[in-house]
Amino acid sequence: MRVFVIKAVVSAICISCFMTVLCGSGNEPIKPIPSTIETDKKKVLLGKKLFNDPILSKDGTIACSSCHILQDGGDDNMKFSFGIGGKEGAINSPTIYNSVFNFRQFWDGRAKDLKDQVHGPVENPVEMGNQMHSAVEAIRKEQSYLKLFEDLYPDGVTPENIADAIAEFEKSLITPDSPFDKYLKGDENALSPQAKRGYWLFKSKGCVTCHHGINIGGNLYNKFGIFKESNSTNLGRYIVTKREEDRFVFRVPPLRNADLTAPYMHDGRATTLREAVVIMTQYQLGRHMEPEEIDDIVKFLKSLTGQIPQIEENRPYED
């Protein structure tokens, strides 16, 4: 009798648990990106200038935009990026788009926010290979920057302010109005039936447990390879926390614009989206899924590509 009761209760809970995820259109686990985000226009323009300027790199060859190509999904479409002197990095560069919605930056989440993140690539020896203060020196020599900084910041050119400006620019890089977002907002025709099916599978197979929220991921850490050894050379958060349990734990990547950001995984091991989905079912969900189901999910993922923002050219700053 007791067992029965327990059975009944567990079943009910399980169902209710999943019902919250699967049903109720007003309570979707994924939220659309806002069409605009509030930014300081001037800072955005300064940030853009800095973002595109190799001045930040030690030898003046690498700009932020070298690896985060804004016209191509906000990443460099390579397994690993190349830094100064052609050095190859150890991690796949993530897209810059919608990074503002990520709860932490970097794969290992070592940066608290965008501003915090700026220092990373600049000082990474295989990326820009520079020191922040050296970058400051370099910028201070540029008359065009001095005035801009002085207009915006009372203390002029500082590492902090450089980071602030770039972060402000990055903040503006959001991709609203993806077909899926339109669907979420009530446009039933925005998604194909296959994509809709894919979304259903995405939710019902448990993908959504990790990939949810506004950025469809990017709001928690998890271990890469729960059901299958990932064999990653990168130790993930362990590098940051040195906790055994954080070995191979990475920030769950956001899936927006996933179609544009191949290759996938922190080490770029998956070259196609389908491949990535398959890896996910095996490594993370420990589930077998039918190829049609995979196709449907891929179809769904492709509906996550949004509008690339048009950032005003910073003409006023170029003379």
Binding site: V10, I13, C14, F18, T20, H212, G213, N222, F227
Partner: protein
């Protein structure tokens, strides 16, 4: 330095100190209030944030409770983000207002620390919760797969599925929070482990179950750890601690506020007290100031350097300066320069000694006039140091001027010639000036206290007196003429002026009586009157008097049906006397004659000197014509009597014209005119007689005018002709010369009397041309005579004094001589005695020139004038002609005889020839010859003859030797 110190002590009064204190307290109170407000705000904010934190920490804990199910981690992130924001806010507040930090850094740190731990746990929680959720779901799916797989094989189904089902449900107990029996589950897992190779899902189920167990253990561990992180408690604790601190601080704050409030009230109270005191002082001061401002005294304040710092209105009024003009200036701008330097030195000596100076200053107003100030200058000392000078001055200019006026008045009072009495209101004499005493002879003592008698002259004194006093009761002045007796009883005419002096209340205070002595004035007046209406020489009434009085006389006569006779008396030849003997003698004659005529007239008759030698006598009432004639005769008689003047005994006559009012005229002009005409008539009738006016006389005057008209045409019409009267040598009976005489024969008038028309010719100036006419005619005739050999020695022509006045006389005379070719020695010029006496250089020159030319000069009508014989001696005269009036009655008239004798003797002594005129009989000839006169002319020999008759007469004489 000393002054500066005093300045400050003076400036900062206790009032101001308290005021500053009060303001300070207010400011402090305000600042403190701000602090309290800030604290309250801070406190409220902190409490709010803490409440929020508390809520959020609960939210976070709530997530931990939501195990094994899908959670939207964005929401957790939101919660975290909010929590962090609140923390940041609190942190910022804590930093910015650290000194009022009730929260305490420690509390905040503790919260932050706990939070961070919790967040770290949360991350793990998320990871494991995700896995477990998915794991359960996976198990559920796998269980269903197993069931499906083994449903046809009961044994296996019973064994494997049952175990799997059991594992699933045992694990599922987690959901309802029950402790799961791990060992039992592991046991069951072992049961199906053998079948893992049989079916993939079984192996998956085993792996998943193990994984789930493992993850659950980890999760349980996380939850356990979380239970030990008492974040909410820490927050609550911080909150209560904050409240406690705040309460304490609030109590302290209240105490401080109360202190400030109390001290504020105290200060306000003391300020009010001071204000009350100051107000009272102010009222006193403004009263004083009002008194000073409105004082009649001039008040001037200067500083120690004597620069004016205050003046009142009286200063402006008295000095004429405006306050603004004198501020900061030295009072010596008023200096008049009247006072000596020594005066100011003495003043300064007193002032420098710190004493009050008193005295009278004579200062100058702005307009330059002087004014007197009775002044008192006081140096004012504050703390033994000279701080100011106060000058109080009273303008006494009016007083002094009044004094001066009084002095002047007193001098006038004593020196004026008018007598002045000052009476009291009871009309008793208070004072009398010395002139009064002089006029009336009373001394002051004799009249003071008495009522003066206003008028002594009439019986009706009382009447006049009462009239004056009643007039004075209404008017304030009475003036009029009275007569008063002096002490000696002499009546003195007085012009009396009485003035009433009243006091402010219009009550009579004094009477002032001014006695002007009119005696002299009246005398003067009478004298002036006399002078105006009397002739100063003869003291007879003059023409003005005549004109004034004659109307009255006529009126009187008219009213009484009476007649008035008016005698116009004109002295004959008086002008000759004046011209020859001088005005002094003439005047003397007039004086004597006036007295003589006056004596002849009746007492009431009026004798007037009408003009130079004209008198008018008015007799009224006139009884009859005869009486008037008698008067006239009497007047003539007295005039004729010789008059002794100086060494002369002079004879004169007069002609009198008589006109009767109202017969001959009814107004004075007519009467006088007619009397005048009558007088002329008398003169024409040989002088020394009187004539009544008749209407014919007026006609005569008219005819004279006619005569004048005719005479003008006479020369043109050749009505004038020259006759010649021979002059004889008595002894030889021969003609020695001839006198040319003019005759006028007018067709209407007949032969006009020569004397008459010559007079007219002289008066009108026609004589000049007539004279030349005569000369030409006579000289031509004489030339004719000579050529005929008639033996007439010379031709005599009369030249009138009018002719002599012609400047070109000599020129024309010479022209005529040359033209006719007559020798001047054959010419005799006859001049009148009067002409000789018109002594002038030109006359003498003309006579001299004529003599030089060879002309003879004789004096015609000698004896009728008043020639100075002594003077005649110096003149170039050849002969004198005795006037026929002297010859006519010879030898019967003894007087004429004597005169003729005297003239002849005179001529003899002067070696002049003598020619007698008007010789009519042999007796005269005999007398003349006997007395030495050789020549003569007259009717006895021949009347004047016309040219032809004369020639015939002369020829006849030639034949008879």
């Amino acid at each position: 330095m000393k002054t500066k110190k005093r300045f400050w002590t003076k400036r900062i009064s206790s009032f101001e100190l308290v005021l500053v204190g009060f303001v300070l307290v207010l400011i402090l109170l305000f600042v403190y209030q701000q602090k309290i407000n800030r604290d309250v705000q801070h406190y409220t904010d902190s409490i709010y944030e803490l409440d929020r934190l508390y809520e959020l920490s609960h939210d976070i804990d709530h997530y931990f409770v939501q195990t094994y199910r899908f959670i939207d981690y964005d929401r957790i992130l939101d919660t975290q983000s909010n929590f962090e924001k609140s923390i940041a806010k609190l942190r910022m507040d804590t930093v910015s207002v650290s000194q009022y930090n009730y929260l305490g850094d420690q509390n905040l740190q503790k919260i932050e620390r706990l939070y961070l731990q919790k967040i770290a746990l949360m991350e793990d929680f998320k990871t494991y919760n995700t896995r477990i959720t998915n794991g359960i779901y996976l198990l559920h799916d796998l269980r269903m797969d197993i069931h499906e797989y083994y449903k046809n094989n009961i044994d296996k189904e019973m064994h494997i599925f049952y175990s799997a089902d059991k594992i699933f449900f045992m694990l599922g107990q987690m959901f309802i929070g029950s402790e799961i029996d791990q060992d039992a589950i592991i046991e069951d897992i072992k049961k199906i482990e053998g079948y893992t190779g049989e079916y993939k899902s079984v192996s998956n189920f085993v792996i998943s179950s193990k994984q789930l167990l493992q993850d659950n253990t980890a999760l349980a561990n996380i939850l356990r750890q979380n239970k030990n992180l008492h974040l909410s408690a820490a927050i609550a604790n911080a909150g209560s601690e904050l409240k406690r601190y705040y309460k304490k601080d609030y109590r302290n704050g209240s105490t401080v506020s109360n202190f400030f409030f109390l001290s504020g009230v105290l200060m306000l109270l003391s300020l009010y007290m001071m204000y009350r005191r100051m107000r009272k002082t102010n009222i006193d001061l403004s009263s004083f100031r009002y008194a000073i401002e409105n004082s009649d005294n001039v008040i001037v304040l200067t500083d120690a350097d004597r620069n004016i710092i205050y003046t009142n209105d009286a200063f402006e009024y008295h000095s004429g300066y405006k306050k603004d003009e004198v501020m900061g200036k030295n009072p010596n701008i008023l200096s008049s320069g009247v006072h000596t330097d020594e005066f100011y030195r003495d003043m300064n000596k007193v002032l420098d000694a710190g004493k009050e100076w008193k005295g009278v200053l004579i200062n100058k107003r702005k307009n330059g006039s002087l004014f007197y100030e009775k002044s008192s200058i006081i140096p004012i000392f504050v703390d033994n140091e000279l701080s100011q000078y106060l000058a109080i001055k009273l303008d006494i200019t009016d007083y002094i001027e009044q004094q001066q006026k009084l002095q002047q008045s007193a001098i006038i009072y004593e020196t004026i010639e008018d007598g002045i009495l000052i009476l009291d209101r009871y009309k008793k004499v208070i004072s009398a000036n010395s002139s009064f005493s002089q006029i009336f002879g009373y001394s002051q003592e004799e009249i003071i206290g008495f009522e003066p008698r206003i008028n002594d002259s009439f019986e009706g004194d009382r009447l006049l007196s009462s009239r004056i006093w009643s007039a004075l009761a209404i008017k304030e002045r009475w003036a009029g003429r009275i007569t008063n007796k002096n002490k000696n009883g002499k009546m003195i005419p007085i012009w009396l002026t009485i003035v009433v002096v009243k006091d402010f209340s219009d009550i009579v205070k004094n009477y002032i009586a001014i006695y002007t002595n009119l005696e002299e004035i009246i005398e003067m007046e009478e004298k002036a009157d006399f002078l105006a209406y009397h002739d100063s020489l003869t003291h007879l009434p003059n023409r003005a008097y005549f004109e004034k009085s004659i109307e009255y006389i006529f009126e009187f006569a008219r009213n009484n049906q009476q007649k008035v006779s008016v005698f116009f008396i004109d002295l004959d030849r008086f002008k000759v006397i004046n011209d020859t003997l001088g005005h002094n003698i003439g005047d003397e004659i007039l004086k004597q004659l006036a007295v003589r005529i006056k004596k002849v007239l009746a007492k009431d008759d009026l004798l007037i000197r009408f003009g130079g030698d004209e008198f008018i006598a008015i007799c009224y009432p006139m009884q009859d014509r005869q009486k008037a004639a008698n008067y006239a005769q009497n007047i003539l008689t007295v005039i004729k009597e010789p008059i002794a003047v100086l060494d002369y005994s002079l004879n004169t006559t007069a002609s009198i014209g008589i006109a009767i009012y109202p017969d001959d005229g009814r107004d004075q002009d007519t009467i006088v005119k007619h009397a005048d005409i009558a007088m002329y008539h008398a003169k024409e009738k040989g002088k020394d007689n009187y004539k009544y006016y008749t209407k014919q006389l007026s006609v005569d005057v008219q005819s004279r005018l006619y005569l004048e008209q005719e005479l003008k045409n006479a020369t043109l019409k050749e009505e004038l002709s020259v006759y010649y009267q021979p002059q004889y040598d008595f002894k030889s009976g021969k003609i020695v010369g001839a006198e040319a005489l003019l005759r006028w024969s007018n067709p209407l008038l007949g032969n006009v009397d020569t004397e008459q028309f010559i007079q007219i010719a002289e008066e009108t100036g026609m004589i000049v041309n007539i004279g030349y006419f005569v000369m030409e005619k006579a000289f031509e005739e004489f030339s004719k005579w000579e050529s005929m050999g008639l033996g007439v020695g010379r031709i005599a022509v009369n030249i009138s004094s009018v002719q002599f006045r012609q400047k070109d006389l000599m020129k024309n005379f010479k022209n005529i001589i040359e033209k006719i070719g007559i020798s001047p020695k054959n010419i005799e010029i006859e001049i009148t005695e009067r002409y000789i006496m018109e002594y002038s250089i030109s006359n003498i020159n003309i006579l001299d020139e004529l003599r030089r030319m060879g002309c003879k000069i004789s004096v015609d009508d000698f004896g009728t004038g008043y020639s100075s014989l002594g003077y005649m001696k110096t003149l170039a005269i050849n002969a004198i002609k005795i006037d026929k009036s002297f010859i006519s009655d010879i030898p019967n008239d003894i007087h004429n005889v004597e005169v003729s004798k005297a003239i002849i003797a005179l001529a003899e002594s002067l070696n002049y020839d003598v020619i007698a005129e008007g010789v009519e009989n042999q007796q005269q000839v005999d007398f003349l010859i006997e007395n030495g006169c050789r020549y003569g002319q007259g009717y006895m020999y021949s009347p004047p003859l016309g040219s032809d008759a004369f020639i015939a007469f002369a020829k006849s004489k030639l034949k008879k030797p």
